[in-house]
């Protein structure tokens, strides 16, 4: 089969192995590509201006050699790696970048990227960290500013109609991703955790409509195919960014199936829809601030009651994980955080407590974002699976 005839999973694997190939083709044909870091820069706004959003990742395979001149070594290795790739010219095809405030380091990186990479266009969305009305209002105003800056950059006005249409395209993609995840509910799942990442990363590397076509093909393919994953321990992986298949592959090579996730390359980014009635900017502000469940946003219960109850607080913050555990029949959870990811590391104790309250065993792994340091993780995961009886 020639490259251009590739479909479904084979196509996703091709895109995963050379993520920028498609946008580079589109660029030759006249498209403009806007890079975005983390899940908070609103992709609907980017696409509504006919720009192609392209998620910026790092590489666990590539040793960091250049970024250490611009960022301290004791910060998020993913962000250091992403900047390192940028400094090595791997993101030179981007026409601009938009970054947000997932954490302190990413905020600083937004400015450092601007200084050292000097993109033609750049914008920083100062995403608030709370979910009360005033914060949503503030977020909406920031998104308006983002829209305005794109109007100036492109010399054309924003269209509310176009934005609404784009939101529908993305909601369609999200429904398809949820459908794909439904096919991970049977035992064995119809698609492996590794393949899931390959598909989802492809979606973040090509225009939304092409992505929708791709995932439709994937769903059709896995419903029909033989030789999918074999039965194994049903595992959920929670944690900070996992932009390489390596960690999930390590778990699945030990005989388990990663059937569900809560990471920003998986369900966390793709599951929540944007409401389609009313002011689209307001709905986008709400979706990104309230519905995206990343530990970077502070949520707590008991504000009205004037007191805090730990169990209630845990249920409010992580109740969705409890639903995942039930619906995907999860037997154990791998909590994964990158070294120096304070945002996730602080959350680990609470997530562990919540899972224990459900009777679900979990293991916490810390990784320094390098492909050469995976074997200690392998021992831990293997021993964890043995405690689950596998």
């Amino acid at each position: 089969m020639s490259e251009h005839n590739l479909k479904g999973i084979a196509k996703a694997q091709k895109i995963y192995s050379d993520r920028s190939q498609r946008v580079k083709e589109l660029k030759v044909a006249g498209a403009q590509i806007l890079g975005y870091m983390c899940i908070y820069p609103v992709v609907e706004i980017i696409s509504s201006f006919d720009l192609v959003p392209y998620r910026i990742f790092g590489s666990i395979e590539e040793p960091i050699t250049k970024a250490d001149n611009c960022l301290p070594t004791c910060v998020c290795p993913f962000l250091r790696s992403a900047l390192d790739l940028g400094l090595k010219g791997k993101y030179d095809f981007l026409d601009g970048v938009v970054m947000a405030h997932p954490c302190e380091v990413a905020e600083k990186l937004a400015h450092i990227w601007r200084t050292y990479m000097d993109p033609v266009y750049s914008f920083y969305i100062d995403t608030p960290h709370a979910t009360r009305e005033a914060a949503i209002e503030y977020h909406k105003e920031s998104l308006k500013d983002f829209q305005k800056s794109l109007e100036v950059f492109l010399g054309k006005g924003a269209s509310s109609e176009k934005l609404k249409k784009t939101i529908e395209d993305y909601n369609e993609q999200r429904a398809l991703v949820r459908e794909l995840y439904d096919l991970k509910k049977p035992d064995p799942p119809l698609i492996s955790g590794v393949e899931t990442i390959e598909v989802l990363e492809s979606l973040m590397s090509i225009p939304v409509k092409e992505g929708n076509e791709l995932i439709r093909d994937v769903i059709e393919e896995i419903k029909e195919r033989r030789g999918g994953p074999a039965k194994g321990a049903r595992v959920l992986i929670w944690g900070s960014i996992i932009d390489s298949i390596a960690v999930v592959k390590l778990i699945e090579d030990l005989g388990a199936n990663v059937v569900m996730d809560d990471t920003c390359v998986g369900s966390r980014f793709f599951f929540p829809d944007v409401e389609t009635t009313g002011d689209p900017l307001d709905k986008l502000a709400r979706r990104y601030l309230v519905d995206l469940k990343c530990p970077r946003t502070f949520i707590e219960s008991g504000i009205e009651a004037g007191k805090k109850d730990y169990a209630e607080d845990l249920a409010l913050r992580f109740g969705y994980l409890g639903d995942y555990v039930k619906q995907w029949n999860i037997k154990g959870v791998v909590l994964y955080a990158l070294r120096f990811c304070d945002t996730h590391a602080y959350e680990v104790v609470s997530v562990k407590d919540y899972l224990s309250s459900l009777g679900i065993p979990s293991i916490y792994l810390e990784h320094d974002y390098s492909a050469t340091s995976l074997s200690p993780l392998k021992t831990r995961v293997q021993a964890f699976l043995e405690t689950l009886g596998y």
Partner: protein, 280 residues
Amino acid sequence: MYFAGIDIGSTMTKVVVLDEGNAVLAQIIGPTGAEHRRLANKVMEEALLQAGLSFEQMTVIIATGYGRFNVPFADRQVSELSCHARGVSMLFPNSRTIIDIGGQDAKGIKVKNGKLLEFVMNDKCAAGTGRFLEVTAKTLGLRMEEFGEISLKSTRKVAISNICTVFAQNEIIDHLSKGIALEDILAGLHSAIAGRVISMVKKLNIEPDVVLTGGVAKNAGVVKAFEEKLGFCVFVPEEPLITGALGAAILGKESAHEYLLEGKPISSKERILKEVAFYG
């Protein structure tokens, strides 16, 4: 039937051969080293010689430890956590907490009825591992094996405050330059290791009986430091290095029985006693 467990640690490679009655027919301990890792088969051959058995007589071979995937002739790989839990439980049926300190890592293991319940392992850091002692031995120009006996003479142990292996060496040199007795420095060092490891294992709730294993358990000074900090006696196997390999052999035996009951073939693949091929 005969069963072998091979435990390839970061520093030492251990092999135990058992018969069906759990009698130890061979017990080999040798350095892992850069070349030895390629030569797991040599250690195995040595064990077979000691046991007076041929390779074909082995019913199940289980590999464990850091290098477990480098044993092409093993039937299965099991994590060292489960193997230590199993091996120690055979030697100490009342054990609930195992603290294993090896060449490059320290582990806390909770065990019940021979099964691994929970575990913690040290991060990528040499403090609180055998490497910490090795580096110190070099600094002091002593043999690591002498540390235990010397430190037991201490009457006024000093505090080694730094938990970093590299910076602790500076502290040791500083103490030496102040004329502090060697035994007091070593006692402080052992106390620092015990403190570091206990703070990690505490996440698991340390319940007696506690069994100390791994190369560092051979150091009487470290054992004493653990007992002082925990406030009760800890147990040390006669040969604290082999519990992983022993556990692997026992797990091999148990899996063979399971397979026999289920009517499945015990060994699923063709085993050839050869060195691992890394390239190609």
